[in-house]
Amino acid sequence: MYSLTVTFTIVITLCAYVACRALYLRYGHPLLNIVVLSAGVVIAILALCRMPYTTYVPGRDIMTFLLGPATVGLAVPLYRNRHLLRKYALAIVLSVAAGALSAMVTAGLIARFGGLPQEVVMSIVPKGVSIPFAIEIARLYDGIPALAAAFVVATGTLGSLMGATFLTRLGITNPVARGLALGTVSHAQGTATALMEGQEQGSMAGLAMILAGILTALFAPMVMLILN
């Protein structure tokens, strides 16, 4: 019975992923977010079968086993774009650091003074970085990984819907600047948007996304200290 449950949870998750991915690739709209849609489908099925989240946990642990190695693999695109890293070193480091820090502090302070419970505050601080970094940072400070993932997706969706328009309104027209901003603020979803604008924007966004993850992890001890 146990292994049957585990198999069932894995199969429904895989099917939801394949279906939602096909839908996204076909229509490409930022609101058709693969994570949101698939998780919604899985939650609906679990609810219909009256299965609590605890029955899903063993399957989850099997499915996320490769997340760590996949994240380490982010070094590969970073290495492939090392010439860009060198060319724009100062701009990249300064602006991504400023962007990551201001995102963490703004989100953390508003959440804290808005009266959110402590574990929710700790989950919203890393909301601007790629999910694997965000969940690990949240976990280090007693946040909730699932909530951290939700805030990351919300930020990414907002960025991919409004980011380009907003940057244009601000008079940010330099392609390097636009790519860095989209990658720093809205991680993978922003990178996808930046790629639609152009190759240069896309590469810079990819770099910014990974660096923002690393810098956010480095800044986290300091920011969490301010918030406590």
Partner: protein, 123 residues
């Protein structure tokens, strides 16, 4: 078949780096996630030429192509957290919007200042 073996071997290498970095973090109590250190370590190994792109890129590209899959099981955990969104929806919305707009401006402004001479683009 050969491709599958190669993918498995490369994934094992990535997993090994991740495992070592995680153990390092646990042993030292460093407040930085193991996966962040893993990215830095693999980048350094590639830069030093200890690890070649051919040793990891197939597995890395495959895993990164399907990276979002791994987030689905984590997001399913939200099923226990519905009330937070009912109770604090507005605060959460304000926090997320404000903490997107400010860094958008900060990153764009700083980079544009440093690279003023370059040609602008028309999005």
């Amino acid at each position: 078949m050969k491709k599958v073996v190669r993918l498995a071997a490369q994934t094992a290498l990535l997993w090994g780096i991740y495992w070592v970095c995680n153990r390092f973090v646990q042993a030292t109590g460093l407040p930085i996630p193991g996966n962040v250190i893993g990215v830095a370590v693999l980048f350094t190994l590639l830069a030093l030429g200890v690890v070649k792109l051919e040793h990891v890129q197939e597995a890395a590209d495959f895993l990164l192509k399907h990276l979002v899959f791994f987030f689905i099981p984590i997001a399913v955990g939200l099923m226990d957290w519905g009330p937070v969104f009912y109770d604090y929806g507005l605060v959460l919305l304000v926090a997320i919007v404000a903490s997107s707009l400010i860094p958008f401006w900060a990153v764009g402004f700083i980079t544009q200042r440093l690279h003023r001479k370059e040609k602008p683009c028309t999005p």
